[in-house]
Subunit: 208 residues, 2 copies
């Protein structure tokens, strides 16, 4: 039977789903052709058609991670401080899908840190993400919802906070259920929003 | 020549140093008998004497990480809020040694998350670390340096903040040199210490 473009696309979607599932349960350390083949109910031979090497599989997995992260649903209702909170909530593992995505991101750090190119690529991704947060911080400052100060510096702190919360929640979902994650984020934002008593040097040193 | 206990201990130290070096540069993903043998200038055959399986090598590496983390030098000069800051500074990658240790920790998350036993073990480790921070938060509250509120909740936030800052600094050391890390931590602690205008619900909900 002739294979149609539809067959091909459907098979690619199946392969992507299998790669995603293997990463979500076994991480990059467990990402092998054999594991993907088992997940797919296919032979390793078939998989080598898609991924001639382990490196090709890892590259595909990293692309898939970026693509799924980029196309995930996002909150977009608020402005100012609410918009900043939305962007930070979008990162946290508050749903099973977001938990899988985060687990795969955290798992990919080992691979990324051991390659200078990937490491630089990740640094750029996180810098872009901080730029987005910075713009939201600046907007909240203009609305008077956050005290003045270098918005890039506030954004760097906020990004650190949510990344660390992601890690905590992945290791200890019982101690960090969604409600607790949101409460901790609310604490963080409330502390950011509180006026500084000294009004002094917060955020005025710039990046150092 | 008979081999003495001293020889044996010296060789073990060499093996540990080689395992550590491989993890610091290649992560757990690159931790193989061959890589350790190359680092040690030994044969893979000799290494199998120490590590009959890959699993034995990984277990050894995880133990070594815990042992070196436990015995690393720590700041211990402050009390109250200064003691909290010391404990958080002790975590950050502010020196080459602390950077290696953190890089190996972050790298180990992939391995740890893919094993329920290791995952539970890591959750316990982080919970113990939070307990230590909680005691310091409570002491700072008693001294009036931090506003009242559930100290465990404040500790969870502080741990999230430093863990995320570790990740950022590892990926982008140029954007997060030691001085910048310390400045961001100072911002975080200043925001924690600022009195809440409402005096209201911060930290009063307890763990949720």
């Amino acid at each position: 039977m002739p294979r149609t473009r539809g067959d091909h696309e459907a098979r690619r979607r199946d392969v992507s789903a299998a790669v995603w599932q293997v990463m979500a349960t076994r991480g990059f350390a467990g990402l092998t052709l054999r594991a993907v083949a088992t997940e797919l109910g296919a032979t390793t031979g078939l998989l080598t058609h898609y991924f001639p090497t382990k490196r090709a599989l890892v590259t595909y997995a990293l692309d898939l991670l970026e693509q799924r992260t980029g196309s995930r649903p996002r909150r977009g209702t608020g402005e100012g401080l609410a918009a900043l909170k939305d962007a930070l909530l979008d990162i946290l593992p508050l749903t099973p899908e977001a938990t899988d995505g985060n687990r795969i991101w955290v798992s990919s750090w080992d691979t990324a840190l051991s390659s200078p190119e990937l490491s630089a690529d990740y640094a750029r991704k996180y810098a872009r993400s901080r730029d987005g947060l910075r713009d939201r911080v600046a907007a909240a400052q203009e609305l008077g919802e956050l005290p003045p100060g270098d918005p890039a510096r506030v954004a760097a702190g906020a990004q650190a906070f949510v990344l660390g919360l992601v890690v905590q929640a992945l290791f200890d979902p019982a101690a960090f259920p969604p409600r607790r994650q949101v409460a901790l984020l609310d604490d963080y934002l409330a502390a950011l929003a509180a006026p500084r008593p000294s009004g002094g040097d917060h955020g005025t040193q710039g990046p150092s």
